[in-house]
Symmetry: C2
Subunit: 678 residues, 2 copies
Amino acid sequence: MANKADHIDDTCQVALMPSGRQGKVKRGTNLLKAAQELGVELESICGGRQTCLKCQVIVEEGHFPKLGVTSSAVHLSPLTSRELELSQNERLEGRRLACAAEVVGDLLITVPEESQARKQIIAKAASDRTIEIDPAVRQVYVEVIPPELGDTRGDWERLVEALEEQWGIKEPAIDIRVLPTLQTALREENFAITLTLWQDKEVLRVQPGYKEGIYGLAIDVGSTTVVAHLCDLRTGEVLATEASMNTQVRYGEDLMSRVSYATSEAQGLARLNRAVILVINDLAEKAAQKAGLVVEDILDVVIVANPVMHHILLGINPKELGGAPFALAVDSALDLKAREIGLSLHPAARLHLLPIIAGHVGADNIAVQIAETPYEQQEITLIVDVGTNAEIVLGNREQILVASSPTGPAFEGAQITHGQRAAPGAVERVRIDPVSLEPRIKIIGYDGWIEPDMADQLPADVRATGICGSGIIEAIAEMYLAGIINANGLFEEACVERSERVRYGSRTGEYVLVDSSLTATGAPIVVNQNDVRAIQLAKAALYAGTKLLMAHRKVERVERVVLAGAFGSFISPLHAMILGLIPDCQLDKVVAVGNAAGDGARFALLNRGLRLKAVELARWVQHISTPLESSFQDEFVAALNIPHARDAFPHLAEILPDTPKNDGGERRRSRFRNRMSN
Amino acid sequence: MANKADHIDDTCQVALMPSGRQGKVKRGTNLLKAAQELGVELESICGGRQTCLKCQVIVEEGHFPKLGVTSSAVHLSPLTSRELELSQNERLEGRRLACAAEVVGDLLITVPEESQARKQIIAKAASDRTIEIDPAVRQVYVEVIPPELGDTRGDWERLVEALEEQWGIKEPAIDIRVLPTLQTALREENFAITLTLWQDKEVLRVQPGYKEGIYGLAIDVGSTTVVAHLCDLRTGEVLATEASMNTQVRYGEDLMSRVSYATSEAQGLARLNRAVILVINDLAEKAAQKAGLVVEDILDVVIVANPVMHHILLGINPKELGGAPFALAVDSALDLKAREIGLSLHPAARLHLLPIIAGHVGADNIAVQIAETPYEQQEITLIVDVGTNAEIVLGNREQILVASSPTGPAFEGAQITHGQRAAPGAVERVRIDPVSLEPRIKIIGYDGWIEPDMADQLPADVRATGICGSGIIEAIAEMYLAGIINANGLFEEACVERSERVRYGSRTGEYVLVDSSLTATGAPIVVNQNDVRAIQLAKAALYAGTKLLMAHRKVERVERVVLAGAFGSFISPLHAMILGLIPDCQLDKVVAVGNAAGDGARFALLNRGLRLKAVELARWVQHISTPLESSFQDEFVAALNIPHARDAFPHLAEILPDTPKNDGGERRRSRFRNRMSN
């Protein structure tokens, strides 16, 4: 009989949807383990104790010939008392807890998306990029054996044993600030606790009983702007985004003046360091508040920054970055405690800094690449990350070159007469009627175009306070299209006759973009010759850098352009090209993505594999040092023109002013109507 | 010809003294490497760069038939220019730098002791125990490639490469407080630096050029006394020893009252923690000053403490240690940064805490065992570590049992009418003439016996301020021998007639140990009935604990006794036995070793292998929980008698009072004369 029994098939066929994975498992196998054996990881915090309710699955009923399965609810062991209780409270909705059920017959199981471990999320609303949620910190529920007389082991040592038995986690450490909380937490709910672990190596938090909720912060520290995204590390959801001026600007607007301040002032480095740490702490506080959390809920942080910001954050004097050979103190990715640099989050919160590529190409650039994945593309992609120090990336999956370009802060609204950071009140969009030279604008915080005579129709608090980066780019491109300035960027003296908005005197002109009736101060907002010049210098630095990389990469044209930048509104691709900020390209292949560095930081926060990818990338991409290139100066001068002194822009043929320009305005007006729909 | 050349013997015979190691090495081998190949590690900080001058060796000249070597100075390559320069400055004294010389013929080399790596030192003046100097931190000298344009690696990454190339050290980390010092240090002496490394894993310090000097602190945190030894980690030398009262005593004299204070007062734990951290910082400061150093020179710390002190140091509330099952928060050895618990030393200084055995047997007991090595002995050894919470160790290499015994702080001078910590002015030795009942004393700070009538002959500042632990033990034992108190510890009322020093009234007596002429206050120092009672209770707890361990270990007697204790003066073995603090034993087998816990901490500071040994020991020794034993109370009551109610002390037969006691005093006086020579 025994021998005969051995021949009875004691396996069951189990198929899992939507993955389609299937195979045989031993009869009596726990369904959570069966799924695991077949390669499907179900979510679980409690480790199979019918506590977290994360592993809910649906049993399909019926005969499925292609799978060779006749599936039925009775092919699982009966509902446990815990499941019955949950069903009575309508918390299971006909589903089973995989951890509570044993396989006793063939099954077709559907795993709802929320029960899948390592869920995919759409990472950005504007693209279909997905990210697998696999953060560096996670929660696990553990039940520890209570102490008793004769057992001399400490509570921690008994917890370590439980972690290995229940989760297979070996030799973890515990943060010294967290250890003092262990004994009380263990005794609060009868030696059941939820741990928050970093890389399964270190205990960062101990909470009594079963708890859920783990949050992280992705931070892009720009020279002018600091942006923080507060994320739910289980769902990937962005709960709050906060941005703020980097208050270091009071010690110097661009990177070099901050390097100089850190080097020449006795307390310079300490002041710069304190300024940015305070900004980050403030953003964390605001973001947490907005999300209904406290900063102590934040357990992991990813920071990206350019090398100067990165060094200052770590308390390293950036003086070596102020001159050749631009030696970094450190370029590797760093794993620290957030408290070690003065961040006020959870006491044991971790901090990850992405690696640096070179003296002036930082972790922020790595983050941009992580967000935009040029290393996966076939098309030759140009990524221009517009900031105080702009970075340029050029290449595809075969080779990627990077360079930095010291554009200065003009694109962020600094060095512009009425410039400001992107914030409510900032002019973010501009169109200028090429005949009447009358402007239409959009203001952050108000949805719709505003014409000069609309002051009475607008709510009293909708008034312009200044021009932000996207606004100044559009304003100058439109001024050029309208003939207010010429290809050299000089105001056309003749325009004063066409409109009172154009004023000219002492060889310098200005254009009244916003009348006093529409401004918060009651004084008009203008764009003057200095503003045009500042933008020309900044865009020429970008363009020249791009050309150098194209020469190195031996390409005549780029197939795709990504415009990134930490300013609130996206740059208009059309206007960026009209201005000659980027080389000619098919217009529908030029996209503006906003703060890609912040996105990349967020992705590295949500997926630790991307942190490894970043390390690999930092080693693989090639850095071109623009100051070393003899042709840079020549390219720079040619790029000062709008759009360029010699390069052709065939894709703008229908848009750029003709020579001769004067056709009575009809063609201009018709093109203007087209631009209004952009 | 080529073939023939292959057959010429291109090896040389090299013998090294005093190790006696010898063998063949390839002609042309660097002598430092040759010695290494033959198993002799020479000292080197500079890694073979003729900089540290640590690898000096002596070339013996002559024919040594037994070794098969004809050795000559010309069998090494000629002096290098560096060696010539050193010779002119008389810094080589005819020796060679092993790293500068190549082997070109047979050699007999003597390696002077100072050139041997991992030197042995005599660990304690009182014993012949030797310790190999192999600390957890060491210095290495590294030369780093300077940065240049086109090399995008950071200074740290280039240093990591150099460390692997020059020292074979892989993947080191660098403390985040130290990283900011790297770039300046590298540039100060042309990219040559000396690193201080912890376990070859982490850079703790970066010093420009070639530097020598590395120091550590071994600390024994007792309930009543804190002791710190400042050691040179290259020579093992103790540069300074400082001791201080544990200022926690203001919050409670014994462990249980501190546990209670930590539990019941809102700021209790924080106050206790701050008190002991301040004491340690103060001791470090004083020790550094005494050694001509600053606290920033201290790079490694080993702390031993009982479990309550250990937990408080780490900011862990010791409340669970206040009651059964006496659950520790953690028992493992811990490696931390010293700054993490608030110590003010070098910013990156490491801290090692030895493991704990059980709820009331701490790292201090492990340290005592490391110092006294009962686990290597064949003799059944009893170690009694006398402190506020005493620990008892019993066993040998086959099995070791440990227990704790709550003696209270009487042995440390607390709870004694005129008790005080061992410090200048404390009475540390006592002899009482059994006939006249006149005392002779020794006072810490004065060398020699002092009799009652010597006030005029002594320097004015030699006056008694109180009685320390060793003094009170001798005083009470001598009072018993002199018949002032009886075996029950009660004052013999009849003695008032023998001497005015004995006073008796209201059923309680006292003995004037120091006349007012010899005290600092001008008031006499007395030992009264309460003092005797306090010592009886304390010694009975120790004796009863010892008896329990003997019962568990199934031994009738102990073969060796070690009396350890953190009080300044050693306990007199004879008086400890007369008092019945320890069981009967051959007198020359009873030794007093002073602060063995502090010694053990010091050994673990000097030799990292002993830290591993401690971990192994903590797992191996067996803890006996005295409160669990039903026979404890019975043993305790029997042990209250002096020396004991029923146990025999055959080794004291010639010393203890006879029954009947009155023989005219002659025998007593002759025994007294013998004791005076102790």
